[in-house]
């Protein structure tokens, strides 16, 4: 068994930042990650980091843009924390040597991004995430933070009280991919989940193969609610054959979208008469698919993104990486022809419910980054707001877990504040097949002191591995691809009731099939079959909660579009969706959005660009 003050799960932007912060606050910290840190998907982020760095800009404007972009589903205290602290965090990265693009006077460059009232997206070419990830890993190396890389975290070691609010997290159990060893990692102060996105729930995604939402699913089964899972961002410019992302930076620099008729449809078909291509991502994605559905797509599938008019010099200076991506993954030369693009799953606005300090409803358990929902993105994330979230909330969670006094949080967790039960009957049974299990079915143990909780969780994890390796059954890959197909077909940019119900049925079948899953590779050495099989369970739980939220939310807000409900309904729906695992019988409930900031209230306005 290993023991540290703080255990960080995941080594992307949020995890690395959390580890650095916890260590600076005096904690003995270790990172446990199924990938080596530099392999994390933060490295694929292209566009930039929003930060109000200049005199003509202000964090208040950034907060206003973010609340508007969120379609008023962001929680103002979290949004304001993000916007207030992003500038100092960006400068911190610069002081750690991050190679930002530069202006003539030697200061860091900023560019316009969708939904922003000021060009505040700070960038390093079109490879900002890569530079940020490596810069922070360098700091982790410098500080000698312990990293257990290629250890897959299977479970949280959480006590088993009936009410999740009474439970405590004492550590994690992980599987060493290289040796097959199962081991406990005791965290004396706290566990911080920073496991990133869950794009593998869909089959056309910009996310990595490793983005299976492990942290979200683990926290969920241990009793922490998932928040606002129905809000999925579909990025308007991904390459059709692979889902590889083409940065919003291309449109930020002046790139134009055309349909098969050669029309600049964002304006000519009135989708966004002011901002055109730079309207919010949800608006542009719907516009593109509407063009395709109405017969003005190219090959009935995609539209064109043209940046040729920017000129070779500017493209090479600011968007060089895009040329390589379009060439290598779509065979298109961005200097001489338009690039084919279509919407693809890109980002989960929802995730593990946390407050603005990164705390969850379970004592000792934190979350930060894409896996968390504080909530700063609400119903739609603005481009350039993901990277600042990683560093601001990574740092906050790290400090809090290390024991720093950060004052009382304004955002509540669990059923601590005002909440209401959902009035929705699902036609399809959801949750654990075979009904309710023991308390904290996957994350708990019948004990309360740290050692026995961890011990029992380790034993269960070992049994699970033995069982998967020993028995005969079906391979997970088929189940996973069925889930991905139904989610992409039915829980996409456009959503309608019948097909959402159908999806719950498909997911039920997938759950049944998963009961017979087995791993045919008998090896304890680098058994990726085993890892993928465990991940598929996480994908199932997330897909289901996401679809439940999508069915129940009978309105159109941000990224969530419903055929039968074409309006934002503020009188009923200024509230967050929460799904609790409830030991295997998922429970859907709501809590109000917090629109009151430090000095002002963000009154919902109609969101036009």
């Amino acid at each position: 068994m290993h023991e540290h003050d703080v255990i960080v799960v995941g080594a992307g932007g949020a995890g690395l930042r959390a580890a650095i912060a916890a260590q600076e606050a005096g904690a003995d910290v270790a990172i446990v990650s199924k990938l080596h840190p530099v392999r994390s998907h933060t490295g694929a982020a292209e566009g930039g980091i929003n930060a109000a760095l200049r005199d003509a800009d202000s964090w208040q404007d950034h907060a206003y843009d973010t609340m508007k972009g969120s379609d008023y589903l962001g929680d103002a205290p979290a949004v304001e924390a993000l916007c207030q602290e992003s500038p100092e965090e960006v400068i911190q990265l610069e002081h750690w040597g991050m190679p930002f693009s530069r202006e003539e006077d030697g200061r860091v460059s900023q560019r316009p991004f969708g939904g922003l009232s000021f060009p505040r997206t700070t960038y390093a070419g079109a490879e900002t995430g890569h530079q940020m990830l490596h810069t922070m890993y360098e700091q982790v190396v410098k500080r000698g933070v312990t990293v257990y890389d290629e250890w897959h975290v299977m479970d949280l070691a959480v006590t088993d009280e009936d009410d999740p609010a009474d439970r405590t997290c004492h550590g994690v159990v992980a599987y060493d991919i290289q040796s097959g060893e199962v081991s406990g990692f005791r965290a004396d102060n706290g566990v911080i989940l920073a496991t990133g996105g869950m794009g593998q729930v869909f089959d056309h995604t910009t996310n990595a193969v490793a983005n299976t939402g492990d942290g979200v699913a683990m926290a969920y089964r241990a009793g922490v609610p998932m928040e606002d899972m129905e809000f999925i961002q579909f990025h308007p410019t991904t390459l059709p054959s692979t889902g590889v992302l083409i940065s919003e930076g291309v449109r930020g620099e002046g790139g134009i979208l055309y349909n098969s008729e050669g029309e600049r449809f964002m304006f000519e078909h009135g989708y966004a008469n002011n901002d055109g291509e730079l309207a919010s991502r949800d608006v542009v994605s719907r516009a593109e698919l509407t063009e395709v559905n109405e017969g003005r797509g190219i090959e009935d599938e995609y539209v064109h993104l043209d940046m040729r008019h920017l000129g070779e010099e500017r493209i090479l200076d600011r968007l060089e990486n895009i040329l390589h991506l379009a060439e290598d993954f779509e065979g298109a030369d961005g200097l001489t022809e338009p690039m084919p693009v279509k919407p693809g799953q890109h980002y989960a606005m929802g995730g593990i419910e946390t407050n603005e300090h990164g705390e969850t409803a379970i004592d000792g358990l934190y979350a930060a980054g894409e896996c968390a929902c504080a909530s700063v993105h609400g119903a739609n994330r603005l481009g350039g707001n993901a990277l600042p979230e990683l560093i601001v909330f990574g740092k906050r969670a790290g400090r809090h877990a290390a024991g720093e006094d950060m004052g009382e949080a304004t955002v509540t967790t669990g059923k601590d504040g005002e909440w209401e039960a959902a009035d929705y009957e699902f036609e399809i049974e959801v949750g654990e097949t075979g009904g309710k299990g023991p308390a904290a079915a996957d994350g708990g143990a019948v004990a309360s002191d740290a050692e026995s909780v961890l011990g029992a969780t380790v034993e269960r994890a070992k049994d699970r591995v033995d069982e998967l390796l020993a028995r005969k059954g079906r391979n997970h890959a088929e189940i996973r691809s069925k889930v991905q197909e139904t989610m992409t077909a039915n829980v996409n940019v456009f959503r309608e009731e019948g097909r959402l119900e159908e999806t719950l049925g498909d997911l039920r079948e997938a759950r049944e099939a998963y009961k017979d899953v087995a791993v045919s590779d008998p090896s304890r050495t680098f058994n990726t079959d085993l890892i993928h099989t465990m991940e598929t369970r996480n994908i199932l739980d997330i897909a289901e909660a996401l679809t439940m939220g999508a069915l129940a939310r009978k309105e159109f807000r941000g990224a969530h579009w419903r055929k039968e409900h074409q309006e934002r309904k503020d009188e009923n729906w200024l509230k967050h969706t929460l799904v609790s695992w409830n030991d295997g019988e998922p429970e859907l409930w709501y809590k109000p959005t917090i629109l009151e900031g430090e000095n002002k209230t963000y009154e919902p306005k109609s969101r036009s660009y």
Binding site: L35, H36, V38, R39, G43, A44, E88, I91, E94, H95, W96, G97, P99, S101, R102, E103, D105, G106, R107, V108, G125, E127, H130, H134, T135, E138, Q139, V141, K142, Q178, G180, A208, V209, A210, S241, T242, G243, V244, L245, L325, D328, F329, E330, D466, L469, A470, R471, K472, A477, S481, V519, S520, D521, P522, S523, R524, T525, F526, N527, T528
Partner: protein, 296 residues
């Protein structure tokens, strides 16, 4: 033979014996292994038959090895026939083979877009990132092996620890004492200087360069192209200041540093991010010489 198998096979089988005390599980596993092998053989036969009938299928010969699984302890090549689709990469073909024919086929991969650096391997005799290597550019049958000059853990997975150790040996983090006064003020850097270090910052730690380097193959302590490039990234960054640059040059001038490089350009040729590694190493040699003259 282009790949190194760990020498201590006895040790690994011992570990297996230790972990598999439970005899029932042992039997079950053995039975399962037998059945899996039969199943595999059956499917392979089907594949081959189908391949003969279908021209649009590619043939992949993949290196297989597992230190603890019967039948895989002796390295071998397995053949997979994969239906070709437009734009298919070596990684796509491997994933197809794994998901449809043999779920034990093992390789690292994550981002699928040449930025995580997980899937460098030896494809038709050259170090490539599987995710950005198009099938149409390769001669068939396509031979896929783990990176040479590294210890094989299983199938296409090699031990990266040595590579990471070398990367970390060059103090791979920004260091300066010259911060601006204002708390929210950035250090200034000219566009030219940023341009100068730009290519060096693109390294994704894939290890292709190290694997291709003859010197690194013969001298285990040689820092290698990636680590020296990392040192270059900081030594050339004007924000670190002159004093720090001296220190950087001392690090790369050590016995197993830049002077070992014999400018064969193999690292530059295989780098999937087009980093001019050899040029960077040469430039550091020149800087070191200039520096030494200065202190004469």
């Amino acid at each position: 033979m282009s790949t190194q198998i760990p020498k201590q096979t006895e040790e690994s089988s011992e570990t297996e014996a230790e972990t598999d005390v439970a005899s029932k599980g042992d039997e079950r596993r053995a039975e399962k292994r037998r059945r899996a092998a039969e199943e595999r053989a059956r499917r392979q036969a089907e594949e081959a038959e189908k391949a003969a009938a279908d021209e649009d299928t590619i043939e992949l010969k993949v290196f297989r090895y597992d230190p603890e699984v019967e039948g895989k302890q002796e390295p071998r090549f397995d053949t997979f026939h994969v239906p070709f689709t437009k734009g298919m990469t070596v990684l796509d073909a491997l994933m197809y083979s794994r998901d449809n024919y043999d779920s034990s086929l093992t390789f690292r991969h994550s981002c699928r877009q040449a930025v995580c650096g997980s899937d460098a391997m030896f494809v038709n005799g050259g170090q490539k990132l599987a995710c950005k290597t198009q099938i149409v550019d390769l001669e068939e049958p396509i031979r896929v092996e783990p990176l040479p000059h590294a210890e094989v853990e299983k199938d296409l997975v090699v031990d990266m620890e040595h590579f990471y150790d070398q990367m970390e040996a060059v103090e791979p983090y920004f260091q300066t004492d010259e911060y601006p006064d204002g708390e929210l003020e950035e250090q200034r850097q000219t566009r030219e200087n940023r341009e100068k270090v730009k290519m060096s910052t693109r390294c994704i730690w894939c290890g292709a360069c190290m694997s291709s380097c003859n010197i690194a193959a013969g001298d285990n302590e040689y820092l290698g192209p990636a680590a020296i490039n990392k040192a270059y990234r900081f030594a050339m960054d004007e924000r670190e200041g002159e004093e720090m640059k001296q220190k950087r040059l001392e690090i790369i001038e050590q016995e197993h540093g830049v002077w070992r490089c014999q400018t064969q350009f193999s690292c530059t040729e295989v780098c999937p991010k087009d980093i001019p590694l050899t040029e960077h190493i040469q430039e550091l040699k020149r800087e070191a010489v200039k520096n030494n003259l200065k202190f004469w």
